[in-house]
């Protein structure tokens, strides 16, 4: 065990807990967070105004100025761009006379883009005041525009617009099997925490959020971490699903929330926790009410609250906290910072959350799918989970499949399934490339389609985006670069500045002004980010760009020259002078 150095992490602000919740509530109540409200919060919480404004500034969905009665955000991941979201957004802007990125003069509406909202299997999509409308077309937008003009409250809009089909195309080990509401809790009550840990270990369950850490080992480390009062540990479900192109956690939260809560309660009983938190991304705000109703049912059934299953001392509550539009808050230590009322910067480790997490308490953080798998493993025979998958990646994987294929949606496959088999099943043709594991993942060429989905081969949190031969892969990678430049938290030098430099260089190449020198710069910055970034965001941000340079020829074909090219177009820069002097003869051009 490594002894911890002096803590390098920002201290927990005195009354930071719940700050984000107050800010989110105020944002949706008033459309912004006023100076007066901030003033009141400084007094209530003993925080400085600069601190609170720094928190507001960090989240895309919190604003210091009014964003209008209707806040409309078009999801802008690459898949939805391919589905035509830009033309639709421009159409709505015209219809409403509301320029993109601005609040209309009468304060009624503002329209903008936002990072992926987890709807790429049924895009183009948008959020209006935090509620998603999928499968957009011009007619729907025209009808939306009429409601906005008529100032009709959202509750009176046709409710079928907001219906989001689960779109599960293939059920496997988890989704095809039944699970009773309290099966995992009952399994714990009739066995013991150590027996459950042994079962999870035997099943070889690894985290479904991306990194693939062994779940039993994580729970055991947390269980063994000292606390000053009994059950002072914390169970957190990471439902921040921000990786572009991913939506399987949304589907699980919509259709399988009971299993998630059963899994979290199981974890609480195993590690000795009395507090559970679901960190739900702000983009899924519309799931809050159904999830809360489900928690309420569990309380009434004795599956949550005091004396769970009648056992003295087994007390556990689950709250749901909403994020506010920050991809980095899916990183587990940023998520904790966010919950503690700070900017979501990743922490220095050690200490790890299992020993010192939320409010300094030992904390288990797992992905939605991890808790569900744990619940189902606990309730079943030994060997059930291992019956599928590979030696190092047991069980199944839920994939969010989107892009150029006939049947986008959620597919559950055993680990070890080859990519070409998946492409065939979803009806993908003339596939040029597949981006696996979201913007942070890898862009694979057809020569690698015989590889398999597995921790030891192509690892993924679940995003699977398909691009056929008509697509411009440089545009794809530029979209990812825009995403990272927008979502970098800004804490560390390589990512804060590097993401922007990569974005600029790719734009230059895309505009036909790139040179070989720019490629060298891209590689140099990319390598620096990989090597020296504080967290996974910066370290993985250049991955797709490297794949594009290494496995595809599109960039080479787009280079303007082999020599250095300046960052700006000299001839274009003279345009102003030409206009001023009324000249356009050859001598006035370079």
């Amino acid at each position: 065990m490594v002894h911890e150095p002096r803590s390098s992490n920002t201290p927990v602000p005195p009354r930071g807990e719940g700050l984000l919740r107050s800010l989110v509530a105020e944002q949706y109540r008033a459309g912004f967070i006023s100076a007066a409200r901030i003033q009141a919060l400084t007094a209530e919480r003993g925080l400085t105004r600069a601190h609170i404004e720094g928190v507001i500034d960090f989240y895309s969905f919190l604003h210091l100025e009014d964003v209008g009665r209707f806040r409309i955000l078009f999801s802008d991941n690459i898949i939805e761009r391919m589905q035509g979201n830009r033309a639709l957004a421009e159409h709505l802007c015209r219809r409403l006379g509301s320029p993109l990125g601005e609040v209309r003069a009468d304060g009624r509406v503002s329209i903008d883009y936002t990072s992926c909202i987890g709807m790429s299997d049924q895009g183009p999509s948008l959020l209006v005041n935090g509620h998603a409308i999928p499968s957009l077309d011009v007619e729907t937008l025209d009808r939306i525009a009429s409601r906005v003009e008529a100032n009709t409250p959202l509750t009176e809009w046709p409710q079928e617009w907001f219906e989001i089909p689960l779109n599960i195309r293939k059920k496997g080990l988890l989704l095809a099997n039944e699970h009773g509401d309290g099966d995992a809790v009952n399994a714990l009550l009739s066995s013991s925490p150590t027996a459950i840990l042994a079962k999870l270990e035997g099943a070889g369950l690894r985290g479904r959020g991306g990194a693939g850490f062994a779940t039993a080992a994580k729970w055991r480390l947390c269980r063994d971490a000292p606390v000053t009062q009994p059950n002072q540990r914390v169970v957190i479900c990471n439902a921040d699903e921000g990786e572009p192109g991913t939506f399987k956690d949304r589907v699980l939260l919509q259709g399988y929330a009971e299993r998630l809560f059963d899994g979290m309660t199981l974890c609480a009983g195993v590690i000795g926790a009395d507090r559970g938190i679901v960190y739900l991304r702000g983009e899924y705000r519309y799931l809050l009410a159904p999830l809360q109703a489900s928690l309420e049912r569990r309380r009434r059934a004795g599956l949550l609250g005091r004396r769970i299953g009648g056992r003295a001392g087994f007390d556990f509550e689950i709250e749901i906290e909403l994020g506010a539009g920050a991809y980095i808050c899916g990183e587990e230590s940023s998520l904790i910072e966010s919950l503690e009322g700070k900017r979501g910067n990743p922490r220095n480790r050690p200490p790890f959350p299992v020993t010192r997490g939320y409010l300094g308490r030992p904390t288990v953080i797992n992905n939605v799918a991890t808790f569900i798998a744990a619940a189902m493993i606990a309730a079943r025979e030994e060997g059930w989970f291992r019956g599928e998958g590979t030696e190092q990646s047991s069980g199944s994987k839920l994939l969010s499949i989107a892009g150029d294929c006939d049947h986008p949606g959620v597919y559950e496959y055993p680990f070890g399934t080859p990519i070409d088999q998946i492409l065939e099943a979803c009806g993908a043709r003339q596939t040029q490339a597949v981006q696996i594991a979201g913007a942070a993942g890898h862009l694979l060429p057809p020569a690698q389609f015989d590889r398999t989905i597995a921790f030891e081969d192509v690892a993924t949190g679940g995003s699977f985006m398909i691009f056929n031969e008509s697509r411009d892969l440089l545009e794809v990678v530029r979209n990812f670069a825009d995403f990272f430049a927008h979502e970098s938290c800004g804490f560390c030098t390589p990512c804060r500045v590097g993401t922007t430099l990569i974005q600029q260089n790719l734009t230059k190449i895309g505009d036909g002004r790139g040179s070989r020198w720019d490629l060298e710069t891209l590689r140099r910055i990319g390598a620096l980010m990989r090597n020296t970034s504080q967290c996974g965001l910066g370290a993985t941000a250049p991955s797709a760009m490297f794949d594009l340079l290494d496995h595809f020829e599109v960039v080479d074909k787009r280079l303007h020259s082999d020599e250095f090219e300046p960052a700006f177009d000299l001839d274009a820069a003279l345009q102003e002078a030409r206009q001023a002097t009324g000249r356009d003869d050859p001598g006035a051009h370079l």
Binding site: H3, S7, T48, A50, A326, C492, G498, S533
Partner: protein, 239 residues
Amino acid sequence: MLKHFTLDGKRIPFAEGQTIMDAAMAAGEYIPHLCHNPEFAPHGSCRVCTVKLNGRRVAACTAPALDGAEVENDTDELRDERRTLLQLLFIEGNHICPACDKSGNCQLQALAYYCGMTAPEFTHRYPLRPLDASHPDFVIDFNRCILCELCVRASRDADGKSVFAIHGRGIQAHLAIDSPSGKLGDSKLHKEDRAASVCPVGAILPKHTGYAVPIGERLYDRKPISVAGDVSDHRKDSS
């Protein structure tokens, strides 16, 4: 029993709870750094102190020392990465050394020399950032801020005031001041505050003392940063 690791082959003793940086500093060995100052809790944001710990890159200021570990520090590879990091800091803000009173006493400039940076290699961003001269004793020039958060930590942890905070995200991240007007003159910053003299670059400068020591005779004009150490260790004779 005392534990050891090796730093570029040299044996460095350390006590439980020390970071690689703590132990190296105690042994008089130099690991380049900007956001670290041993008076304050380590931060790990500039990444300039990145070393290889048994082959894996870590920030020396936040990584616990490990018994028997091999640490690489002064290698061509790491120096090259550090130079690139410094390049990024230079193009992110507006650093015009000949016009800056911190020239010669600035850790960013001194480190750039130390790491062999001769000219900018990336496209400058030239952000528009205002200067705040509202305080009677200090000028704050945001163009030169490298977001090391030393003033943030000093004001919060040493002065108990939290005069400084970070606003914005990503490349928009910037230093902000806690005061009703957002101006330094309106804040609780006092001449004697630790936060007032902790800046490693020329972002927070005292008024009325300009060019007290001529250029050419300043701290890093006389000795390289690897020998002279941090500018805040020389508070009296530096300006």
